[in-house]
């Protein structure tokens, strides 16, 4: 829809800002306010304090942050590696095989995360492969859940890759490994970076499956926040949330910087 009159345009802009503020701004603002609130009885919080934030950065919580970061790093890197490989394989295979791979890799996005968690518990709770109670099962749960997103991000870019480039590279004498390393991967690098950022952000916030499978020794930040909120410690949960957001944004900014350096187009 094209809007030509300035007054309609202003109205639409105002409506957009209002919707965004309701959806994103208010919850975020509430979290920030709660994180620094000593008490909150009226419309606005009172008795501002840094005590919650100090708690959130205590040794116990720092361990949670570290667990979250480690899990997200490993899970997103594995998911992007597998997703990119599958996307390239699907494109090379073509036809029916490509459709089958496409469907298989989109499945985790369609299945609720709780179901993924339950499935992992059911599958890996007894020999021959007992992973229940290990950190590995948390990593596997998060990898499974973000695989669909990393796959479709890379597959979208691989789809529009000009096949003539690979054909010409082949005609110039490059074998398939050389074509992969010198043509396909360099051209897919921007989308791989995007997939990595997306996967990492999703992993950092993952709760549904993690809460089903996590062992006491490997508690991610969202699990801690959920536990705090469940116990009624809303201000502490809010402070933890601030830490979660800050660390996620910091890592995403780092990935974006690395991507900026590799992007050629």
């Amino acid at each position: 829809m094209l809007l030509h009159s300035p007054s309609t345009r202003t109205a639409v802009k105002a409506a957009l800002i209002a919707v965004l503020a309701l959806l994103l701004g208010v919850p975020l603002l509430a979290v920030v306010l709660a994180a620094f609130a000593g008490s909150w009885n009226g419309v606005w919080p009172s008795d501002p304090t840094f005590a919650h934030l100090a708690d959130a950065l205590s040794a116990d919580n720092l361990a949670s942050i570290s667990v979250s970061l480690q899990t997200a790093f490993i899970a997103s890197i594995v998911a992007v590696a597998v997703g990119a490989w599958a996307a390239l394989a699907a494109r090379s295979a073509g036809g029916r095989a490509a459709k089958a791979i496409d469907a298989a890799f989109h499945l985790p996005a369609a299945v609720p995360s709780v179901v993924v968690g339950l499935g992992l518990l059911a599958a890996f709770s007894r020999p021959p492969l007992t992973l229940n109670g290990t950190a590995t099962i948390v990593v596997i749960a998060q990898t499974t859940l973000v695989l669909a997103f990393s796959y479709s991000t890379v597959a979208g870019a691989a789809e529009v890759l000009d096949p003539a480039l690979e054909q010409v590279a082949g005609s110039l004498g490059a074998g398939s490994l050389r074509v992969l390393l010198t043509v396909r991967l360099p051209l897919l690098l921007p989308s791989i970076g995007a997939a990595l950022g997306l996967a990492f952000a999703l992993c950092m916030g993952e709760l549904g499956a993690t809460i089903m499978v996590y062992p006491a020794s490997w508690r991610t930040l969202p699990v801690s926040i959920f536990a705090l909120a469940d116990r009624g410690s809303l201000f502490l949960a809010a402070a933890d949330t601030l830490v979660l957001i800050a660390s996620t944004v910091a890592v995403l900014a780092l990935i974006a910087r690395l991507r900026g350096r590799t992007t050629v187009r």
């Binding site: 054909q167 010409v168 005609s171 110039l172 490059a174 051209l187 050629v264």
Partner: protein
């Protein structure tokens, strides 16, 4: 459908002991997923390109010419037939083992590599020493006049410059065969003309490189090719030198695609009875008289004496190029003035000014029921009087320019609708 008409016999080309640079033997390509009954993208193509020779494959889109090139490059796997390079069977070998230079329509330069690295790509794939790579890249960039752009990325170059780099990259590996797939179709008209001249210069500089040039543009084919293969519906319908195809087409499709000839259906009269003269072009083909379905008659020579067009005395097609048709002065006796045509009456249905002259569309048969698209095209001589739409005109044919080809009902577009055949006595001299 008549078999591919290969003029140059295969025997005798081994005289110098060298096998052809490229040889296709009965190659068919069927794309996977195409239904079994559908026609293949390329059907039973046999073709040879000698070392140093340039062969153009000319045809409309979907005629299979690009598929033929891809089969040579190894980008498509033939479902039948064999591909040989310098006598070596490479049918099942991947492109990397064929050592062919390929230039494609949209250049396909590696967007993330600088110009010099693009040109060096094939040399590095061959693991040449660094110094040799640098020297060869410099040499190639100099050849295409792009030395000062070596550090640029492809996106910083114009279309013509990108095309030069694509050619330099393909030739850097010293291929014996260079394949060019519509290399100029992405350029504007003026740049295309420059590049045709540049390609002609390259051909002179590389006398041993065999080239297969795929195009839908007849002027590129005429300018660059030693021989031209005309393709249609996945088949090679005609193959010969530009001169042969232009002056003695052996197929109605060749005549209409190469030079846009009008195709006039008619019936052959007694051979040679009308005139019995020979043409300036080919002493071996006598002129025959064809009574046209649209009325009138034309003296024409047989395009290919080996074809059966003249043998049957039956229904044939006469191909006449627009510039070989003349508008005769009204009122004069058409028989005298026409020279080699008589009674070609029609009505002007459109007049188009083309800068250098006018093109008329004339509905033959004295009626105007043929639409403009189905009427014959006539290019007026410069400074000739231009008729108005609706004028009744009489057309003549420049002597020796009408060619008899076998009738092919499957060609549309340029065919003149058959009017009721008039009594022979009233139409012929």
């Amino acid at each position: 459908m008549p078999l591919a008409a290969v003029r140059c016999p295969d025997a005798g080309e081994f005289d110098d002991g060298r096998p052809p640079a490229v040889e296709l033997r009965g190659v068919s390509v069927r794309y996977p997923g195409a239904s079994a009954g559908s026609r293949p993208a390329l059907a039973d193509l046999s073709l040879r390109v000698d070392p140093g020779e340039t062969v153009a494959l000319l045809g409309p889109s979907g005629s299979g010419k690009s598929t033929a090139l891809k089969a040579v490059a190894g980008f498509e796997q033939p479902s039948e037939g064999r591909v040989l390079l310098a006598g070596r069977d490479v049918t099942r070998r991947p492109p990397a083992e064929r050592g062919i230079g390929v230039v494609v329509q949209q250049y396909a330069l590696f967007p993330h590599l600088r110009v010099a690295d693009n040109v060096a790509y094939g040399l590095r794939a061959r693991r040449l020493p660094r110094a040799q790579v640098r020297a060869r890249v410099g040499e190639m960039l100099e050849m295409v006049g792009m030395e000062e752009h070596a550090r640029k990325l492809p996106r910083e170059l114009s279309g013509g410059q990108q095309q030069r780099i694509a050619i330099a990259r393909a030739l850097a590996i010293r291929p014996d065969v260079l394949l060019l797939d519509e290399p100029l179709s992405a350029l504007d008209a003026r740049m295309r003309q420059d590049m045709v001249e540049e390609l002609a210069r390259l051909r002179r500089e590389l006398p041993d490189v065999a080239m297969l040039y795929v195009t839908h543009d007849q002027s590129e084919a005429l300018a660059l090719a030693d021989r031209i293969g005309v393709m249609r519906d996945g088949r090679l319908v005609d193959l010969g030198t530009a001169h042969e195809l232009y002056h003695r087409p052996r197929h109605a499709f060749t005549a209409s695609f190469l030079g846009g000839a009008n195709l006039l259906d008619g019936v052959l009269e007694a051979p040679g009875a009308a005139r019995g003269r020979t043409t300036h072009d080919d002493a071996s083909s006598p002129e025959l008289t064809v009574r046209l379905d649209a009325g009138g008659s034309v003296s024409a020579r047989i395009g290919d004496p080996a074809s059966d067009a003249g043998a049957s005395g039956g229904r044939v097609t006469v191909a006449v190029r627009p510039h070989a048709l003349r508008m005769l002065p009204a009122g004069r006796d058409a028989n005298e003035a026409a020279g080699s045509a008589s009674g070609l009456r029609g009505t002007v249905v459109s007049v188009q000014w083309r800068g250098t002259g006018h093109r008329l569309r004339v509905a033959l048969g004295g009626t105007d029921r043929g639409s403009a698209g189905r009427a014959v095209a006539v290019d007026l001589e410069p400074f000739a009087a231009v008729p108005a739409v609706g004028d009744a005109v009489v057309l003549g044919v420049v002597r020796g320019e009408a060619v008899i080809v076998p009738r092919d009902e499957t060609i549309g577009g340029l065919r003149v609708p058959a009017a009721p055949v008039r009594p022979a006595a009233g139409a012929t001299a």
